[in-house]
């Protein structure tokens, strides 16, 4: 079993949070995992991306040139990374902020949803990242939802844990969309 995913967007979209969550969940399931964030000089509004590798074997490289999955939340993220996805891989696109026509890849499985709107309908558009993570989990089944919930407990401080249920609901929404899309789940 081997999975890797690059997640990208701009700072403030919670890209690094869902990458961390996925990594914590993988650790909770006893898997090997690496989490590699981008970092830059300290500025607001810059790009944010991270790569998570999960395997039941020792992991070689935490850096991945051609990820098996790419999750993009913003236009610049799509243009920077879309060429890198492995042919036959998975591409998750946030059409709230990206014109579907900008997706050039035809050799990948595409899950394109207006994630901000979906999140807004649920409760708050800040949960768009969670819906995206749900799509990835629903499609790949790389870790279970319970492990993600465990990840929240690891990452969030006591006072922020009250938000866990609505975050989980957003992830579940994404998983449900992936199932409707007819993934191999």
């Amino acid at each position: 079993m081997y999975h890797d995913v690059t997640m990208a967007g701009f700072g403030g979209q919670g890209i690094l949070l869902i990458g961390n969550l996925l990594a914590e969940a993988a650790l909770a399931e006893g898997l090997h995992v690496t989490y590699l964030p981008s970092y830059g000089v300290e500025m607001r509004g810059g790009s944010a991306n991270c790569t998570v590798v999960i395997s039941d074997q020792e992991i070689g490289s935490p850096a991945v040139g051609s990820p098996r999955a790419l999750l993009v939340m913003s236009r610049p993220a799509l243009s920077r990374f879309q060429a890198s996805v492995k042919p036959g891989g998975l591409l998750i696109v946030n059409t709230s902020l990206i014109e579907p026509a900008e997706v050039e890849r035809r050799d990948v499985e595409l899950l394109a949803y207006p994630l901000n709107q979906i999140a807004l309908e649920l409760s708050h558009q800040r949960l768009a990242n969670m819906v995206a993570l749900g799509l990835y989990l629903g499609r790949t089944r790389v870790v279970g939802l319970e492990s993600i919930e465990h990840g929240f407990a690891e990452l969030l401080s006591e006072k922020n844990r009250v938000f866990i249920p609505q975050n989980v609901a957003a992830i579940q929404k994404g998983m449900a969309l992936a199932a409707e899309a007819g993934g191999k789940s």
Partner: protein
């Protein structure tokens, strides 16, 4: 033991605490600020001293002072700051005062950039400052090693009364991996019978590097040489991964060794007999291990995040017996090679049979 997902820089900082270090002196520089920030938060709770110095020159000399008093002391920085510390490192080595200096490498020359780099290999492994001295150099390649090698660094520094460099890079500092917070079993250390704490009940002591008397400095340098020879004999560490049947051996340290390992796993799936020799100590260097592999007729591919530094040590160790190829990338945003890039080089240099 339960593992925790931890960032490399923070693993190193916590390991320093566990190793008994209570004195940190440093100056901010990307990409290692997690280390001083972590210790600035944790040391006050433990009665430790965190002090932000006026410069890296100040930092290394404060380390010298605290360490002269027998304390485990450290500093951390990156390229430009490490350059400023070279004077202090030379004095520490000459005066035989232990210290742990962490270089989370960023790219140079000059201000360069903040992306991962291995451009400081020569500086670290050749002593770096003026004079005829060396420092053990430890090169972690995982978050677990950021932890484990920090214990080793303090141990070696005290054992040999010499500064020890941990040569990490921005990728190792920023990435997270599961970490087992284990305490290594290390052999007992010699008593610190040289420290300065006031001369109550004994003769005064002096820690110095100035030797002006006829023959004094030569004798001192020979004694240091003997110490480095002992270090070379006892402290070489490296990881050999699938090299027994390998036709091609990739030689890499730090982050590129991880990327290469990913490439090697892929190459093996494609039926190529490729292995990895990863130096964990860059000084002392695993010369014998490389020479043995050269004797076995293996071909080498050296990969580094620079335009060719460690490759010189591989060529020296392998002599004329082996073919040594080099694939390097100068550091900079977007120049980190991917496993695919290295796999391509593996295919290009794989010996035809």
């Amino acid at each position: 033991m339960k593992k925790k997902l931890v960032k490399g820089n923070e693993a190193l900082a916590q390991a320093a605490i566990e190793a008994g270090c209570r004195f940190y002196f440093g100056y901010p520089i990307t990409p290692q600020n997690d280390i001083p920030e972590y210790l600035a938060r944790e040391f006050p709770k433990l009665g430790g001293t965190f002090l932000q110095a006026e410069s890296e020159i100040g930092s290394i000399n404060m380390v010298l002072g605290a360490s002269a008093a027998g304390m485990r002391a450290m500093t951390s920085s990156s390229g430009p700051g490490i350059s400023l510390m070279q004077e202090g490192l030379s004095y520490l080595a000459g005066s035989e005062i232990p210290a742990v200096v962490v270089n989370v490498q960023r790219s140079g020359p000059g201000l360069g950039g903040i992306s991962p780099s291995q451009g400081d290999y020569f500086q670290a492994t050749r002593g770096g400052g003026h004079g005829d001295y060396r420092t053990p150099v430890l090169a972690p390649a995982s978050v677990q090693e950021m932890w484990d090698l920090t214990f080793l660094a303090f141990d070696l520094a005290d054992r040999y009364r010499n500064p020890v460099v941990i040569l990490a890079d921005a990728m190792l500092g920023q990435m997270k991996e599961p970490l087992e917070m284990r305490k290594p079993e290390l052999p007992p250390l010699p008593a610190k019978d040289w420290i300065l704490e006031g001369c109550q009940g004994r003769d005064k002591r002096l820690l110095k590097s100035l030797y002006l008397g006829e023959g004094e400095l030569e004798k001192h340098c020979w004694r240091l040489w003997a110490k480095y020879e002992e270090i070379k004999k006892k402290e070489v560490r490296c990881e050999a991964y699938r090299i027994e049947d390998a036709e091609l051996v990739v030689v890499a340290f730090g982050s590129p060794a991880r990327i290469a390992k990913g490439a090697i796993m892929e190459a093996r799936e494609q039926g190529l007999k490729v292995g990895l020799l990863r130096p964990i100590t860059l000084y002392p260097y695993p010369e014998k291990e490389l020479a043995d592999l050269a004797d076995q007729g293996k071909t080498f591919l050296v990969t580094e995040l620079n335009v060719g530094q460690m490759v010189e040590d591989v060529r020296m160790a392998a002599g004329r017996r082996a073919e040594v190829h080099f694939y390097g990338r100068p550091p900079g945003a977007g120049s980190l090679p991917s496993p695919e890039d290295i796999l391509h080089e593996i295919r290009e240099t794989y010996p035809a049979r």
